[in-house]
Symmetry: C2
Subunit: 331 residues, 2 copies
Amino acid sequence: MRTIAIDAMGGEHAPEAIVKAVLQVKPELPQTRMVLFGDQNKLTELIPADQLDDRLAIVGTSEVILDEDEPVKAIRKKKDASMVVAANYVKAGKADALFSLGNTGALLASGIFIIGRIKGVSRPGLMPTLPTADGTGFNMIDVGANATSKPEFLVQWAEMANYYANSIRGIAKPRIALLNNGAESDKGDPLHQEVYQLLQESSLNFIGNIEGNELLEGKADVVVSDGFTGNAALKSIEGASGVILQLLKNSLLNNGIKAKLGALLAKDALSSLKKQFDTARYGGAVLLGIAAPVVKTHGRSTERPIYYTIKQVDKMLEEDLIEKFRSEFSK
Amino acid sequence: MRTIAIDAMGGEHAPEAIVKAVLQVKPELPQTRMVLFGDQNKLTELIPADQLDDRLAIVGTSEVILDEDEPVKAIRKKKDASMVVAANYVKAGKADALFSLGNTGALLASGIFIIGRIKGVSRPGLMPTLPTADGTGFNMIDVGANATSKPEFLVQWAEMANYYANSIRGIAKPRIALLNNGAESDKGDPLHQEVYQLLQESSLNFIGNIEGNELLEGKADVVVSDGFTGNAALKSIEGASGVILQLLKNSLLNNGIKAKLGALLAKDALSSLKKQFDTARYGGAVLLGIAAPVVKTHGRSTERPIYYTIKQVDKMLEEDLIEKFRSEFSK
């Protein structure tokens, strides 16, 4: 039986939404044990006693890492934080994967400093699955685990993401692209020019450079990027989407009765748009390169995205992704 | 009298849209002479003979730089291209500013290699004005003139953009922010950490780091960025906006009669949204640091954005921005 360690105290809707998602997903994952780390009293109150069995357990913890905490300091000082205790369970082999909605930096630090890297991986990379216009989505790595990047980091990220897209998302020959400032092979700074060459020479299905404006068009299954640029691109997409949808809502609500009636009639169409851009189904962002699956979802996630993320983590364990990385990078 | 050299052959709607915009703006700029560079026959046909006077002239050219042309090669080989001849007019002092809708790389190369840098400016930076949710807009520099950047480049870009925001956009004390991967002062790679310190120590109204997701929120009047990241952020915003508006259109048109009727009723509201995000009023992207205003608008621009861009170029001449840069950077 595989075990997922779940930080039940991270995110805006903790621990309620997390517990709900766990109870919902539990019957669907008969091979999986989930351990919730957090406030013993609250969790005991939220979870029906008959649900606590060999597949669901609580580990009481007394501290919580907050979003405003400095990540590395927090995991060192808050020894009894839900996230830290959960990470130590994974390190000790008492759990196989770590999932949290909490402080991203602290989760990265927990992965890197507590659980540790896979031997042979230079630097772990953070990889979300992002939506595309055609609804298939794509993986982007790294979106901010690293402020500075070297060519070999990007090549390893491409290799790990390729495995992920293949075994978790079921894409036969994932199309790998490099986020760059133009289409031609000589574009970019020396880092990106060198990565282009290395990817070209690799056995990956490298399709060349991709630019920011093409990201959501579904041209690539995996986009590899230095962590600094990937972070800016991801956040720019989030910001632009958020602002446009907010302005859309405002303009429909504040332009008189005709617009309001129109919005009412178009409601189903608008929510179909929202669904198309809804990233819940894609699960969370994975910190690839750590000796266990370490997965993070947005702090504001509700039950549904949490449910999908647990399934995603479980799938990573089922496919034994980490073992694949180990044998690949120990060469 | 000031003179603007206009490449009449660049962009999808050239030369018609350019001529229309020129004829529309001409009565509003009595102090300004415009010279159109392009196909003599076509331009003569499009411009009423009585409009050709001491404030509007045509210079016939026989070549055009295409979007697919390699920029530096193109400006060297196509000696009689409209863009190149226009740039040479500026270099020779026969015109004071260069405006084009053509190949961005070739325009940057024309600015840098034909017209030349202002003495004391290390590297020119490309600076568009982008929309914000509150409708005021902000300037971002550099968005791709430089694949690699040094700390002093970013500080000079911040200084030039500060002047621009002040004298052209009329902002008393422009709020300057640094595009980075987090809010705290120690965020980012060594380049961004150093720029943060330099901006902190400068006399600019530096408000700290800004992240990609905050760009369109109107928190800063000027966002300074290394050229590689700025390029990715700008294109990511463009891509996300484009995809969302396209999906919105599709979902309103392909979800039956109810959605269509709703869209019809909400039409005014939706076009008010479009207007709010319409960058036409903001004019084109300026290549700051060149010895004359060099301005570019999107190749797909129609008459309206071209009209506003000519006014923007004229304002830069009226305010004698280049002279301000000269005296600042010659120190």
